[in-house]
Subunit: 416 residues, 2 copies
Amino acid sequence: MFRSAEIIAVGSELLLGQICNTNAQFLSKQLAELGINVYFHTVVGDNPDRLTTAIHTAKKRADLLIFTGGLGPTKDDLTKETISKVLQKNLVMDNEALTNIEAYYQKTKRTMSENNKKQAIVLEGSTVLPNDYGMAPGMALTGQNHSYMLLPGPPKELQPMFLNYGREFILSKLGVKEQIVSKVLRFFGIGESQLETDIDDLIEQQTNPTIAPLAGDHEVTLRLTAKHHSEEEANRLISVTEKLIQARVGEHFYGYDEDTIFSVLFGKIQHSHYTLSSAESLTGGLFSEKMTAFTGASEVIEGGIVCYTNDIKHKVLGVSEQTLEQYGAVSEECAAEMAEQVKKLFKTDIGVSFTGVAGPGMMEGKPVGTVFIGLALPDGRTMVHSIRLAGGRDSIRQRTVKYGCHFLLKELFKSS
Amino acid sequence: MFRSAEIIAVGSELLLGQICNTNAQFLSKQLAELGINVYFHTVVGDNPDRLTTAIHTAKKRADLLIFTGGLGPTKDDLTKETISKVLQKNLVMDNEALTNIEAYYQKTKRTMSENNKKQAIVLEGSTVLPNDYGMAPGMALTGQNHSYMLLPGPPKELQPMFLNYGREFILSKLGVKEQIVSKVLRFFGIGESQLETDIDDLIEQQTNPTIAPLAGDHEVTLRLTAKHHSEEEANRLISVTEKLIQARVGEHFYGYDEDTIFSVLFGKIQHSHYTLSSAESLTGGLFSEKMTAFTGASEVIEGGIVCYTNDIKHKVLGVSEQTLEQYGAVSEECAAEMAEQVKKLFKTDIGVSFTGVAGPGMMEGKPVGTVFIGLALPDGRTMVHSIRLAGGRDSIRQRTVKYGCHFLLKELFKSS
């Protein structure tokens, strides 16, 4: 049973500033949700003496020590070796982990080096945390007054390992009595301060569930967290508060928890048995790439045309020369024709188009951030949305495709 | 004169995971360039007792302590109050800082609260570091065996303050003699452990420059860092070592420092005055999106076709029905035709194609990770590379486009 944790990141690349300690942020958030206080983060290099010092210091001020990094195959990777010395625990070969590593090499038809075997060695008596996205397994271990968890450095390995296995280990030690239930509501097309103003009084009054806004990635989320010994009641509390929120800002709501605006749109189209194609100019294939990222994409997505030049817009996609000459490629008229043409050419139910100025320079006399999004819909209607975005090239492209999803989702919700 | 530093970030929002400690990354990079070793980062909350402990711990292991955050106007902000107690230094009003804060309020026509005056209070005897982008001034102070620097938390205030004033303070203390020069070599298509095995003896023997490998994002980098009082000589030392490395693993090398395999390929095509188009199946537009991310893309990229279904491969792109029937879409033959067809249709010098199985299920009896990459080259030759990738859907797609860049780059380097 423990109430406070320290996160110790091991890796000289952090101390050289080559990477940022995003793992500490991720784990801190997770531990906060579990009600465990994190009082310190420490970062230490690939040096056994300094790591040993850090362990001794942390033991004085926390009862759960979580280590990230240093589980790799190279000489620099010495987290488990150092911990084994400090705790006087042996290192033993874990056969299951070894089998996983060997399978990985067989599958990729590469030769396994002796170094890689080192990754299957674990602290004796520890619970092995499987690595579903890499080779180095994690470990969790309970000593007399402290518990220890070792996680791999790469976030794409660490995050699923913690969520799928590490969290459970901690919960089992906590002997949790109160159920903590969380739900994230996701919004697009509204700024954080506007959203907060709109539900200011709710945020102030609510204590169970709490309402925590967070902005990021051109979106805003609200996390509702309820505590109750009955999980059912915790869920009910959340649902009551959600209704109050939806009544105020529901038009910007698009999904829950791990949803993305892409996954929600993809699901909606798939569920409606529609097919989709896209004609992309300034976004260069980004929309298509996002929509084909999902399993089952081939049922939904026929494909698309990236028409970066006027020549391709005309000759391959079939936008009329007259439209391009009279209105330009960055125009409502061109966006409409692009969407209609790709829908026709690819024989899909829906055609989406993106044309605009990503910058850095003006185009056809139109300022950077001018964007037209065309939707050729299943019922034969064509709509064009015109938006004006600030920011750099990448940010304009990213937000353009999200706005496309937002507009299309609204139409699909209307007609369903 | 000091040789090692510890960065102490103060702020409960870091321990709750609300923000990431990007200041530590920024400062670490800066200190590395100045030749100061950073052995530890510490993050501590807005709590005077725990901050006091952290200061005592840091004093034992570093001679420059850099604090970030906790200089604001609210009750939570207690960095300078705590340091004043630990160092037994008085806090005094700094009139220049006060004038700046008052001017800020006059400029923005807001009323200044008493709290804000608190921000103009500094440690007695310290060098005040002006804040050109906010209100709280920074401080630098030299004690008997240690130096202390206090910087504000918001990165947009901290970064210019450090670059314009903090750095100078450190340089003046260092009486810099040695120049530190760093160069990053970037590799693709070779694993970290293989690369390390290939140059193991070089890594062991080298002390100036040092060679530090780092893996990430399906790539491996080597950072060479040389120290010498003459910058020219430091550069020469790096260049000698680089030649030794290139002789062994040069075939996997693609660029330096902030290069990406996309920026290098884009630059190479642009420089050769070639034009490019792409036909993408499993990658769904990812290659096209990456290549259109650069300023000037319209000179180089005509566009592409995302052909997610066989129907589109045939009807829009013009792959022959016979190829699709006889060999399937996931085949060398189809990849070759896709590259040739898009090159012809878009009238470009180069056509690139991607077809394969991203998963999760098999396709045409071919296992997940089977990928064919077609290159229709300016000299009329067509080549197809077949690779086999492990991992999930997203990882397969990401690496597929990087392999495409890698193979095309090799051809372009050969012919130039």
